[in-house]
């Protein structure tokens, strides 16, 4: 789960990491009022769950409450990578002498928490990682001993020559590690970590992603969830045991298993069609799940045909067949349905569906082709 910069900064403050003063605004007037309250030079920052906000025009520097209001009215409602800006962070601007990068992730290769620091912080860090990977200093943390002060110091010596700054940075690196571990983050990042001409240090930006598998033990973080309308539908599906992601095509897919669901989307695309969604009904054969899945697909007005691709293993094909029939008796729909069922109890399923008007497919490829043909272009 992603949280906003302002939420991440609230967490930083609790752990003793200095962040510039700031408040959240949802209207230009509110931005103006906060700007008056904070005074001086300020930054107005769009709060959306994507990177590259600055490059998209979602971050503006202002010098007065009037300018803050004007900037806010421009940024609010702006679309950044498909997301609408509904919240702004109005925060004090700091003078920048130096920008560093500090980040923690769970590294899949070493299977350990990994800390990364670089003296080349700022908006181009991803380019730095690509072009000059040696400028990023990494250290894999022993999960039992944890991250130790001397290790943080060793890393910080890569950032500054001045021992005062090295000590300050090491302290922040250690604190960020505590944030990372305490809230089960999958990513915690300060970029840039700024040193001012006077030698003060600030976490000017903050990014935290949380491990979805651990959210149940962090209700306070779960409460920070801010969802778009599309995500609302995905969350609703999740609460019904379905994994759903909306896409822009017209062929609705109902599949058991995430890998097969992705492969089904890929195949539709390969044959010239456009999948309307990713939908994994999971391993159980509960007919209710099929009813819910169809309900979600019907609510997407783009959908012109529905493709069931079920490989029965644990999921029994006859259960899915019964689910489809039950769903259709409950839901009002007249979309054409292409069904491919194979594996456990395939024969029984075919008997159940034998007297219906569904279009059957002999293979995944056959089903993909038929559902594309029916959906038209």
């Amino acid at each position: 789960m992603k949280i906003h910069e302002y939420q991440a900064k609230e967490i930083f403050k609790k752990f003793g990491i200095s962040v510039p003063d700031g408040k959240v605004a949802t209207t230009p007037e509110e931005a103006e009022r906060i700007a008056r309250e904070l005074g001086g030079s300020l930054v107005i920052k769009a709060q959306v769950h994507v990177g590259g906000r600055g490059k998209a025009g979602g971050v503006k520097l202002v010098d007065s409450p009037e300018e803050a209001k004007e900037a806010a009215s421009k940024i609010l409602g702006m679309h950044i990578k498909g997301l609408t800006v509904k919240k702004l962070l109005v925060t004090k601007s700091v003078d920048i002498n130096d920008e560093a990068y500090i980040g923690f992730i769970v590294d899949r290769r070493t299977k350990k928490p990994l800390v990364m620091v670089s003296a080349a912080g700022g908006i181009d860090i991803e380019e730095v990682a690509r072009e000059t990977p040696s400028a990023i200093h990494k250290f894999a943390i022993d999960p039992f001993y944890g991250f130790l002060p001397h290790q943080a110091m060793e890393l910080a010596f890569n950032l500054y020559d001045d021992i005062k700054l090295v000590k300050k940075a090491a302290d922040v690196i250690l604190k960020l590690y505590r944030v990372f571990i305490s809230i089960d983050a999958s990513l915690a990042e300060i970029n840039p970590f700024v040193v001012t001409p006077k030698g003060e240090t600030w976490a000017v930006d903050a990014k935290i992603n949380i491990d979805d598998n651990a959210l149940s033990r962090h209700p306070d973080i779960e409460a920070m969830r801010d969802v778009t309308d599309t995500e609302m539908k995905e969350l609703d599906a999740k609460s019904k045991g379905l994994s759903y992601i909306k896409l822009d095509g017209n062929i609705g897919c109902v599949v058991n298993g995430a890998g097969l669901a992705m492969a089904t989307m890929d195949l539709i695309k390969k044959y010239g069609g456009e999948p309307a969604n990713f939908l994994d009904i999971g391993g159980s054969s509960n007919p209710e799940k099929v009813v819910n899945a169809l309900g979600i697909l019907i609510s997407d007005k783009n959908v012109k045909s529905i493709f069931f691709n079920i490989f029965g293993g644990i999921t029994r094909c006859d259960d899915v067949a019964n689910g489809i029939i039950e769903a259709l008796s409950k839901l009002e729909m007249n979309l054409p349905i292409v069904i491919r069922l194979t594996g456990t109890n395939e024969k029984e399923a075919k008997e159940i569906l034998g007297h219906t008007e569904f279009i059957t497919a002999s293979s995944m490829a056959d089903g993909a082709r038929k559902s594309i043909e029916i959906a038209g272009t």
């Binding site: 990177g51 899949r108 299977k111 491990d211 651990a214 033990r217 992601i245 992705m262 695309k269 995944m364």
Partner: protein
């Protein structure tokens, strides 16, 4: 031969009295797996399908000599179940459980490494050596003893691909699902090392998906160390970035972990990548 499990594997089921645990115990027994014990605290003395149930893994190991464990317990108890199996001296653990917090996995994997215990999963459909043993939830009827080793990050997609490998007459030596989570026990490379030394295995099918860089690292490994024919498939070419595609590990983030990068990595080392699941078997048939 085969890898990791065969007829001699003595299997213990953790969470045997639960809905999934008891159902799959029955299925594994039907397949011919040597299931010797089950564990559910407080249920000692009872039996499931004739398999004796114990209170603790230690007791079960002591009494039955179990060396392989499969874990069906719910996510919030699963981590301790893995520690318990490691503590009791189990050699191979298969974790079917889904939804275990990542940082918990990081710790338990470090613990198992020190113990010398191998882990498959979590979020894995298990492992099967056809005609010998099945430790997992994979549908036994689609497999046939043969020459292809299969390693996959998913479940039903594996079945789809395996059914074609069986239908073209090749069959499988061992097939395992390594799990859909970001932090897992055995990875592609660990399994390839074992398959490299397995005489029964003449060729490999690797089923990858978006997220992480395991496939890229595996491609580099194959180039240097693996000398049997390999065919790959990657799911998720059409997956939008930033979205978790079902599996916790299947997410394209910051422009890395895309299917295109993975396909390029494999093809650059001479591993053909099938563009649809059916093609995997065809490509293998040409090579074997």
């Amino acid at each position: 031969m085969s890898i990791l499990i065969d007829k001699t594997s003595k299997v213990l089921v953790q969470g045997i009295t639960g809905r999934d645990g008891s159902f799959h115990t029955k299925k594994m027994l039907e397949y011919g797996t040597n299931v010797v014990a089950g564990v559910t605290p407080g249920k000692a003395g009872s039996n499931i399908e004739g398999v004796p149930v114990f209170n603790t893994v230690k007791k079960a190991v002591k009494q039955t000599g179990a060396d392989t464990s499969i874990i069906f317990v719910p996510a919030r108890f699963a981590i301790d179940a893995i520690y318990e199996a490691g503590d009791a001296g189990i050699k191979l653990i298969v974790a079917v459980s889904e939804g275990i917090p990542t940082l918990d996995m990081v710790k338990v994997i470090e613990f198992l490494n020190k113990k010398g215990t191998k882990l498959i999963g979590p979020n894995s459909p298990g492992i099967i050596s056809p005609n010998k043993s099945k430790v997992g939830i994979l549908p036994g009827q689609i497999f046939k003893e043969g020459s292809v080793g299969v390693i996959s990050r998913s479940g039903t997609l594996t079945y789809e691909i395996v059914s074609h490998i069986t239908n073209v007459g090749l069959g499988e030596s061992t097939c395992l699902g390594i799990g859909g989570d970001p932090i897992i026990g055995l990875k592609f490379i660990d399994c390839l090392e074992l398959f490299n030394n397995d005489e029964q295995t003449k060729g490999m099918a690797l089923v990858g998906e978006i997220g992480g860089s395991d496939e890229e690292e595996t491609a580099a490994y194959i180039k240097e160390h693996f000398n049997k024919p390999v065919v790959a498939f990657i799911a998720g070419l059409t997956a939008p970035p930033g979205k978790r595609m079902g599996h916790a590990g299947a997410i394209v983030s910051g422009g890395t972990g895309t299917a295109t990068e993975k396909i390029e990595a494999f093809e650059s080392v001479g591993v053909p990548v099938a563009r649809e699941p059916e093609e995997v078997a065809k490509l293998l048939k040409e090579k074997l």
